[in-house]
């Protein structure tokens, strides 16, 4: 087993216990990410389908006879699956995803995995989390390394907002750096806030013995401290969010999406959210369980995207589903499937390049264990997110993974962090079209980062809708108003920014 010593950036990281983490308390404390090129308003949600999602029953080669031959009891019957191309169909529980695919908002990347796929849950999860090859063991997470590159010295000079929020257990390798863990574990912002404040003991300046006991003490102090600081920030965002308009399903994954939506809508600047759904290890009686899981996920995801759309935040988010491996092509005698290798990764978003990347699973050319071949290394997906979604450049991606991985063009509009010419003042263009039905777009420009809020008033001057765009970057921006749920007639659109307020009248003709 190779162990790779990771090439750190040239910044020397402080040893735990020796340095005292200090938050950079800017005068204008709100919403500022310093020292980083992740200075966009783009967000990624990673959904881990824990246990090994059966990709073959998710994105189904429904015209391939082998599929039904190898899985007489476990295959989805022809006619029940939902076609999206001539040869591929989605699991019947995924109707909303079929719609998204037709709207070009779903990119399916086939055959994602790595060479010599490891069939152990824990080992394979570790591999995905750390961005390693099968035969090497890394001790930091790829996201941890990325965040460490962007925020050198973390947790010293940590930004005001959590870098990442995860909804499941702490100490996931994914976010781990050589010194620390960059993710904040969140269950519920309100509970968190009320629990933490008042129970924090400020002992940051106390000495720590140079023992293993001291190491653990330092870890706990740091966790205490970070939780304390971030709980305030998260609470602020949560209180700031407009009331949710969606009915999220009353499931664990539904709750995770709901809280994420609330924080994004409330203006939290955290770029990474890690959500979890357990139960995909379907060795036995797969059909029932898998269907239940997929429909829970699809419902929650759909509610989230709908809400983001309604709040005009959809362009900022990208959702990526992953799993530690796919499953064996041939079914077992317990009406289930065993561990496999590669599987599709699904990417959702208005900025995703809808479609299928890669070829259909080749059921004729399986490896010696009966598993599907790999078409794309999983690090290509992650690398693309670094370069195309966040616009951080190939060098950053290569630093994180130790080598270059070819990107896959599943992101539509790549973010570029090259210098752009900033407008000199706050300007608002007239809405177009006007009168409109159902949508109209307002272009506006702001000379530097600003909070932007939009209020909609009816003809009687009553506030009927609010949109909180959060703290957005300078330059030319636009806002699209969807009048579907608004009353017909004259409306007033009020744009409130740090530079002033501008209003204009528009007419909705239904």
């Amino acid at each position: 087993m190779k162990r790779r010593d990771f090439i750190k950036s040239s910044v020397v990281l402080s040893a735990l216990g020796a340095g005292i983490p200090s938050l950079l308390l800017a005068a204008n404390k709100r919403f500022s990410f310093r020292n980083s090129a992740i200075d966009s308003d783009r967000i990624v949600l990673f959904i881990k389908m824990n246990g090994g999602n059966d990709g073959l029953n998710t994105v189904i080669p429904f015209q391939n006879a082998s599929y039904y031959q190898e899985r007489p009891l476990v295959s989805i019957p022809n006619g029940q699956s939902l076609p999206i191309t001539d040869t591929l169909a989605l699991h019947p529980a995924l109707e909303s995803w079929q719609s998204l695919f037709n709207e070009q908002k779903l990119a399916i990347i086939q055959g994602v995995g790595y060479i010599d796929g490891n069939l152990s849950h824990f080992r394979s999860s570790d591999i995905w989390d750390t961005g390693s090859d099968e035969d090497e063991e890394l001790t930091t997470g790829w996201l941890g390394r990325l965040l460490e590159l962007e925020y050198p010295g973390f947790p010293n000079n940590a930004p005001d907002h959590p870098l990442a929020i995860q909804f499941n257990s702490a100490n996931l390798l994914e976010f781990k750096t050589s010194e620390s863990n960059t993710a904040l574990y969140l269950y519920d912002p309100d509970t968190m806030y009320s629990l933490i404040t008042g129970n924090y003991v400020n002992d940051q300046n106390e000495e720590i013995p140079d023992t293993y006991g001291g190491d653990e003490l330092a870890f706990i102090r740091e966790l205490d401290y970070m939780s304390f600081n971030y709980s305030q920030v998260v609470n602020e965002a949560a209180q700031n969010a407009p009331n949710t308009i969606m009915n999220y399903p009353n499931t664990n994954i539904g709750e995770q999406f709901k809280v994420t939506a609330r924080l994004i809508a409330g203006g939290l600047a955290t770029p990474f959210y890690r959500l979890y759904q357990h139960g995909y290890d379907t060795h036995v009686e797969q059909l029932y369980r898998h269907e239940q899981l997929l429909s829970e996920l699809a419902d929650a995801l759909n509610a989230f995207l709908t809400e983001m759309d309604a709040l005009s935040l959809l362009d900022r988010v990208l959702i990526v589903t992953t799993s530690e491996f796919g499953r064996r092509v041939i079914e077992n005698s317990s009406e289930g499937t065993d561990h496999g290798t590669s599987a599709p990764v699904l990417v959702f978003g208005s900025q995703a390049n809808g479609g299928v990347f890669g070829v259909d699973p080749d059921l004729q050319n399986l490896d010696e264990n009966g598993n599907l071949p790999v078409q794309f290394d999983y690090r290509q997906v992650f690398s693309t997110i670094i370069t195309d979604w966040f616009g951080l450049g190939q060098e950053t991606a290569s630093n994180v993974f130790g080598e270059e991985f070819e990107s896959i063009p599943f992101i539509q509009s790549q973010l570029s962090t090259k210098n752009i010419i900033l407008p000199s003042k706050f300007e608002v263009q007239p809405a177009y079209p006007n009168p409109f039905n159902p949508k109209t777009t307002i272009h506006f420009s702001i000379p530097s980062k600003s909070h932007v809020k939009i209020n909609i008033f009816n003809i009687l001057g009553e506030l009927i809708q609010e949109y909180n765009l959060g703290f957005i970057k300078p330059g030319d921006q636009m806002f699209t108003l969807n009048g579907k749920s608004l009353p017909s007639g004259q409306l007033m659109i009020q744009l409130i920014t740090d530079f002033g307020v501008m209003s204009q009248k528009v007419t909705l003709l239904k």
């Binding site: 999860s125 909804f167 000495e207 003490l217 706990i220 379907t282 060795h283 077992n332 289930g336």
Partner: protein, 537 residues
């Protein structure tokens, strides 16, 4: 690792039907599974530079070293109990610690209750039975908690907990309380016994057969679940076996079934019986780790135990549970030698560990982040509140919210422990839920008081000692509840809170309970429970 309860594909009237499973799952999701999931991926197995000095020296047997040992092997030892062991001396204390205990009577007659004939029952009857199963499991948790706090200076209950985490099997899938009890009992009986016997008993017990899908696995397409976890988690560790070995082993583990109470395995012949065995077991040759033959499950187990890595794997887990998360490879090898030389008897290994000066090295003091159950039960016992878990629902809340539900480990990996117990949710919860015992108010409702503060305070004061009572109280509370030894700053801080402006001589431990002085004691305790050091042992 599937969550569904497998079915034997025969008309087996004793097997739960879909209705029963559905209702069971409903209760599980509502009351047993929480989002505060403390499952974690274990860190890669590597050993760091050993920080302790390794010269052979005599172990100093005093309050500090005894407390260090007891914190890891029994629940919530008090000052009196630590004193007793200091006086008894190391040899006697370790002997008592590792002595075989008389088996307790079971928590109820239900442990051997016959299985219902599900097909003949109405849906109301089914619901009633499932609910009774859940109630029994709750009672079983409390029964075990009571055993952990029984005040015996003996390691049996902690060893039982260790094996429970080691062979993690969960009630949500196993379904029958009888099976869960049977497994727990095996852990207790074989807690310091022979590992080969233990793993056979566990493998062929109804709980494990259900949990890892051994039951019903057939030769035409066997299920790989048990074969893999047997090697990866229970005996050899990742990378010490191949996928071919998994396939071969899975063919060997065919033909065994259970209905939740009985199995078709015969411990004497080491084979299954019945048509499940004759029709489903693969009698052909398999090649496992280079050896070919018509292997059965027992053969696989024996071949695995022959491998050097097996003893190392077991000893590493023992070390990690009892001492620290980062073992030194040399020490583990020494432990493994003891295990092999003693033909896989566990007791000599424990003896070796607890009489070795490595165990008592000061670098390990406070290095263990306590698991929630021992944190809670230990605190209750030290505060002399042993009735607390049973009269209220609070023990359920503790398990559920702090992420350690007895009989429901988060996954096959058991509880990784250490830092996985703590995150930005469970850490504040641990503080708040523990000092709820003192202020009688919790995030989950208020409850009555079982805390007799003057009595606890008096037990912390030695009248023969000339130091002021309040100073003794501060120092002894810190000694019992804080993992890291007090430094001068913290000591001052705690004293200030306790005194709150008064002088040490103002403190009178004979004042009645309603006197305002005792509010300071509450404040002191509450502050102690807010400190990071409180989480360590």
């Amino acid at each position: 690792m599937s969550n569904l309860i497998p079915r034997i594909k025969t008309t087996n009237a004793n097997w739960p039907d879909r209705q029963a499973i559905r209702y069971h799952n409903k209760l599980i999701n509502k009351y047993w599974k929480n989002q505060n999931d403390t499952s974690a991926e274990p860190l890669p197995e590597f050993s760091v530079q050993n920080r302790s000095s390794s010269q052979a020296r005599d172990i100093s047997w005093n309050m500090q070293t005894v407390s260090h040992l007891l914190k890891r092997t029994v629940t919530g030892s008090t000052l009196e109990e630590i004193h007793t062991l200091v006086n008894d001396g190391m040899e006697t204390s370790i002997q008592n610690l590792l002595a075989e205990q008389e088996l307790p009577p079971p928590p109820g007659e239900w442990v051997s209750e016959e299985l219902p004939d599900w097909n003949s029952l109405s849906s109301e009857d089914i619901q009633e039975i499932i609910q009774s199963y859940h109630n029994r499991m709750r009672a079983f948790q409390r029964w075990w908690a009571q055993r952990m706090m029984n005040g015996e200076m003996n390691i049996t209950e902690i060893m039982t907990l260790f094996w429970h985490s080691y062979f993690a099997s969960g009630y949500s899938k196993v379904f029958y309380p009888q099976a869960m009890y049977q497994q727990n009992n095996i852990f207790r009986i074989f807690s310091m016994g022979n590992f080969r016997d233990l793993i056979r008993q566990v493998t062929f017990g109804p709980a494990m057969m259900i949990w890892l899908d051994i039951s019903g696995s057939r030769k035409n397409a066997p299920n790989e679940n048990y074969a893999r976890e047997l090697m990866e988690l229970f005996t050899l560790g990742v990378d010490n076996y191949s996928q071919n070995d998994v396939v071969a082993a899975s063919h060997a583990f065919t033909g065994y079934v259970t209905n939740g109470l009985q199995t078709n395995y015969d411990f004497d012949t080491m084979e299954g019986w019945g048509y499940w065995w004759t029709d489903w077991h693969d009698f052909d040759d398999k090649t496992f780790m280079g050896q070919t033959g018509p292997w059965t499950g027992d053969d696989i187990i024996n071949m695995i135990l022959d491998r050097d890595e097996c003893a190392i794997h077991i000893c590493r887990k023992i070390f990690k549970w009892f001492l620290y998360n980062e073992p030194s490879i040399d020490f583990i090898n020494n432990m493994a030698d003891v295990l092999r030389t003693n033909n896989y008897e566990i007791k000599p290994v424990l003896e070796f560990l607890f009489t070795n000066d490595h165990f008592y090295d000061s670098t390990f003091v406070g290095a263990n982040i306590q698991n929630p159950v021992q944190l809670y039960l230990g605190s209750i016992k030290r505060l002399k509140m042993e009735y607390q878990p049973f009269d209220t629902n609070y023990f359920n809340e503790i398990q559920y919210h702090l992420g350690m539900v007895l009989f429901e480990p988060p996954d096959v990996n058991g509880w990784i422990g250490y830092r996985s117990w703590l995150n930005s949710n469970t850490l504040p919860l641990r503080k708040v839920m523990l000092f709820a015992l003192i202020i009688h108010e919790s995030p989950f409702g208020n409850f009555g008081s079982y805390l007799n503060i003057p009595s606890v305070a008096q037990s912390l004061v030695d009248d023969d000692n000339e130091t002021y009572a309040i100073i003794q109280i501060v120092e002894n509370l810190a000694f019992l509840f804080l993992g890291i030894p007090l430094n001068e700053n913290l000591r001052q801080q705690l004293l200030e809170i306790a005194l709150n402006g008064a002088e040490p001589y103002d403190w009178n431990i004979n004042l009645p309970a309603y006197n305002a002085q005792w509010n300071r004691f509450e404040d002191l305790l509450q502050h102690i429970m807010r400190l990071p050091e409180f989480q360590l042992s």
